[in-house]
């Protein structure tokens, strides 16, 4: 705990920690897009924004089902590695909140289908789309709340027996809302960035949004995205400050200790850079400086994801020795199959790239919209 993440841990532990964090970041990007995207559509619908076609609703409505599919697929890898890293606390929290996990499956299925309703031509019109967006947003917020609660309960080992005996179904602690708020509001800049990239890409390709909606609508959308990102960043930072203030010893240890503080700094530097770049887009709403904005967003997500892990490691270390975890990781690392995984992962990256190539080169004719 006295060196930056993941140094200082035994090699197998560091290995699985890195794999977990990297795969989680991929999931977080897609999850942020879905969570913030549905929330924005729901609010937009309530304010009358879905009554007529507009670029943001068009992009989100079109891509949200695929993004959710991607988010679920990307969730599998970190879900696999978390079971190796923190088996007992993870399973225990899941068992204690079993009502929630049994509800999660139908809730997510409903949310998923509502995204298809949002996209379907037969459900055009303000209220059907608003209702679908609102329903989907509620489903995904439920998932976010459950997951945050589960993560916090994982760290509350001293409360497990009492929680079980009292047949509680909700875990509450002061850090819950600010931590949840940090992730929910932090999703907005990610969604805004991905939408911005989609707009920039569409302007280069043959599905030009300016042709479809007019240049003013696209400019207005870019400015709206910039405001959403700025508002999300501000709210996330505010929630982060509250989280730091009400957080327990593990949070304070992660804030001050070398394990997480450099990553927190990375996250904050990324957030500051995002502020500057999004503010520039408010003043001049043309998609530009996309590479630095992407880097800044990824820095924020990576920094905060590692910081989140530092809090967990400090909490577990405060409860008991981490040695049993290290022993389990060493046993897992001794199992075969890693080389085969690398081979098939490379093969499948190739196949996925081939799919993209087939789509790019296999068109019958140029399609205009």
């Amino acid at each position: 705990m006295d060196t930056p993440f993941p140094f200082g841990f035994p090699a197998p532990t560091a290995f699985y920690l890195v794999l977990f964090v990297v795969t989680l970041i991929v999931h977080v990007v897609l999850m942020n897009y879905v969570l913030a995207g549905t929330a924005v559509l729901a609010v937009s619908g309530l304010r009358g924004g879905l009554a007529r076609p507009n670029p943001l609703a068009g992009i989100l409505g079109d891509w949200l089902p695929f993004a959710l599919s991607g988010a679920i697929t990307a969730a599998i890898a970190p879900l696999l590695f978390v079971q190796i890293l923190y088996r007992q606390p993870f399973y225990t929290a899941n068992l204690l909140l079993f009502n929630r996990w049994m509800a999660m499956l139908p809730v997510l299925i409903v949310g998923f289908y509502l995204l298809y309703v949002l996209k379907a031509p037969r459900f055009e019109g303000r209220w059907p789309r608003t209702a679908a967006a609102l329903g989907a947003a509620v489903c995904f917020l439920f998932a976010a709340w459950s997951w945050t609660e589960n993560s916090l309960l994982t760290l509350a080992g001293d409360q497990w027996a009492g929680f079980y005996q009292a047949e509680r179904i909700v875990h509450w602690e002061p850090a819950l809302l600010p931590r949840l708020g940090m992730w929910i509001f932090g999703a907005l800049p990610t969604m805004a960035l991905v939408c911005l990239l989609q707009i920039a890409n569409s302007n280069r390709g043959n599905r030009n949004l300016e042709t479809r909606y007019g240049p003013d609508a696209v400019t207005g959308t870019v400015r709206l995205l910039a405001w959403l990102a700025l508002a999300g960043l501000a709210a996330a930072v505010a929630c982060g400050l509250i989280y730091a203030a009400v957080g327990d010893l593990a949070v304070r240890s992660a804030l001050t200790g070398p394990l997480g503080r450099w990553y927190l700094l990375l996250g904050l530097v990324g957030a500051a850079a995002q502020f500057a770049l999004w503010w520039g887009l408010v003043r001049d709403p043309t998609p530009r400086r996309l590479a630095p904005l992407t880097l800044a967003t990824l820095a924020t997500i990576a920094g905060m994801t590692v910081f989140r892990e530092a809090v967990r490691l400090h909490a577990l270390d405060l409860q008991a020795s981490l040695q049993p975890y290290f022993d389990q990781h060493a046993v897992a690392a001794g199992r075969g199959g890693f080389v085969a995984f690398l081979v098939f992962a490379a093969l499948n990256v190739g196949l996925a790239s081939l799919c993209v190539w087939i789509v790019r080169t296999g068109r019958r004719q140029q399609v205009s919209n």
């Binding site: 299925i109 079980y164 199959g337 085969a340 196949l351 296999g362 019958r364």
Partner: protein, 473 residues
């Protein structure tokens, strides 16, 4: 293992429902959807080839409609129930899923990369397929189909390992466990089943498509029926599977356990009906099948899948991983230790309803039930203990429970102290007596010698046939 290091997890009470029913229900649903997706990929490749070679022009109309159906059903519900399986497995047996993940996480990671390709190829076809040239469409479908089938390939190895760990039990090697004795028959059987399911669903979709006239439907149904042709090999694969599973497991399925046998019979019967209709009616006599009949056959296929999965799960008893982990999450090595120190001595989770029991002995009995029995038995509901033991005398209960693995070889050995055995017996007797408010504890110290003798006589080893035969003089 040091008993203080045993990973105690909170155990939830599902009331009158067997926990196995929860995971079984979701599992069957997921398997059916997953197999539909796998067979669907093969079917779409066939139809795309028929369309682009001019052999069946109407196939083109069918492909997009079927693929939309596949995406909406399989990509959404199928994918989520797959993730849901993990969470449900944690609810039922965290130790089992922990062992599976620990041993095979790289296999699972490989499977995940194939699933990711399946999603990418599938969505690429869904989104851009209508703009693509025929060759590009076929390429995308082939990648989708290949990835989907390889997902089955990898998961099948892990599932088959649970029943027939093969050389893994000796050398602990991942590949020894993965390519286990039931790997190939199980894979081939599931592949044939996937194709049959996809063919049947195609018949439903073809009938539901208003853009097709009768002649087109008739031709397409005949083409789709070709995917059911591999069903002729399913009896061979099934027999091969039965031949390689352990003797006692085969015994449950073939008469030893009437529930298992009936489920197997239902699965075989439903498969025979589907196969007979497909081979004789659809392929040989080229009959037409309407939407209602096709739907009925899909339901029959679901029944067959459900029966087969139930038998596959059931014949593993008393293990979740044969030879390594009992259904109640106690390892064979720990039984002897728990006989000395107790199975609930270090359990940190108290009873939720401790006040409901008039004595400490009954409270201990309830804890032992929760730890050792509740994963498969409810109190008075499904597979309820009061149903199973209602006619037993107290002394008979002492004997039967102490000799559990010999009384019924699909039960694990009792893993507790004499005091825990007696507490469990008393708690069951109290439940059988309709939970009276007044209850007198039995004198465990007076019974101690008798209980120890019973437990020693039963031994701590499992009651499977091979071991039992080997140990007989």
């Amino acid at each position: 293992m040091d008993p203080t290091q045993f990973p105690y997890y909170p155990i939830n009470d599902f009331g009158p429902v067997m926990k196995g029913l929860a995971i079984g229900g979701l599992g069957i649903f997921h398997v059916f959807l997953a197999q539909f997706a796998i067979g669907g990929g093969l079917l779409l490749c066939l139809f795309q080839w028929l369309a682009m070679t001019g052999r069946e022009p109407a196939a083109r109309l069918f492909i997009d409609g079927y693929f939309k159906f596949l995406v909406l059903l399989s990509f959404v519900t199928g994918a989520l129930t797959g993730v849901g399986m993990w969470f449900t497995a944690i609810q039922v047996s965290p130790e089992t899923i922990g062992l599976m993940v620990g041993e095979f996480h790289w296999i699972w990671a490989i499977e995940w990369t194939f699933f990711a390709v399946e999603v990418i190829a599938g969505y690429a076809f869904y989104r851009y397929g209508h703009d693509l040239r025929d060759a590009a469409r076929l390429q995308l479908l082939a990648i989708y189909s290949l990835a989907a089938w390889f997902s089955l390939f990898w998961i099948n190895g892990i599932l088959a390992w649970q029943l027939t760990p093969g050389d893994w039990a000796v050398d602990g090697g991942v590949w020894s466990g993965f390519f286990n004795p039931s790997f190939w028959p199980s894979l081939l059987f599931r592949t044939a089943a996937s194709m049959a399911i996809a063919g049947l669903v195609a018949c439903v979709v073809i009938n539901a498509m208003g853009s097709l006239d009768y002649a087109m439907r008739r031709r397409l149904i005949h083409r789709a029926a070709w995917l059911m042709a591999p069903m002729v090999a399913m009896p061979v694969f099934g027999a091969w599977f039965l031949a390689v599973i352990p003797d006692d497991s085969r015994s449950w399925a073939t008469g030893g356990s009437i529930a298992m046998t009936m489920f197997l019979t239902a699965a075989v019967g439903a498969s025979v009906l589907i196969g007979g209709y497909a081979l004789v009616g659809l392929l040989r006599q080229r009959l037409y099948i309407n939407g209602a009949t096709a739907t009925l056959l899909v339901v029959l296929a679901f029944v067959a899948s459900a029966g087969g999965e139930f038998v596959r799960e059931g014949v593993r008893k008393p293990y979740t991983v044969r030879g390594a982990l009992y259904s109640n999450s106690i390892t064979p090595e720990l039984v002897a230790t728990f006989r000395e120190v107790g199975s609930v001595t270090h359990d940190p989770y108290p009873l939720r309803d401790a006040d409901a029991y008039p004595t400490d002995q009954l409270r201990l009995g309830r804890l032992v039930y929760r730890r050792q029995c509740s994963v498969c038995h409810s109190v008075s509901g499904a597979n309820g203990l009061t149903h199973l033991t209602g006619s037993w005398t107290t002394d008979q209960m002492r004997f039967n429970i102490s000799h559990l693995q010999h009384t019924k070889p699909f039960m694990p050995p009792f893993a507790g102290t004499p005091a825990e055995l007696e507490a469990l017996v008393q708690w069951i007797a109290w439940e059988n007596a309709a939970r009276p408010a007044d209850w007198t504890d039995s004198d465990t110290s007076a019974l101690d010698a008798r209980l120890r003798e019973l437990l020693a006589d039963a031994g701590t080893r499992p009651g499977d046939f091979e071991r039992h035969r080997a140990e007989q003089p």
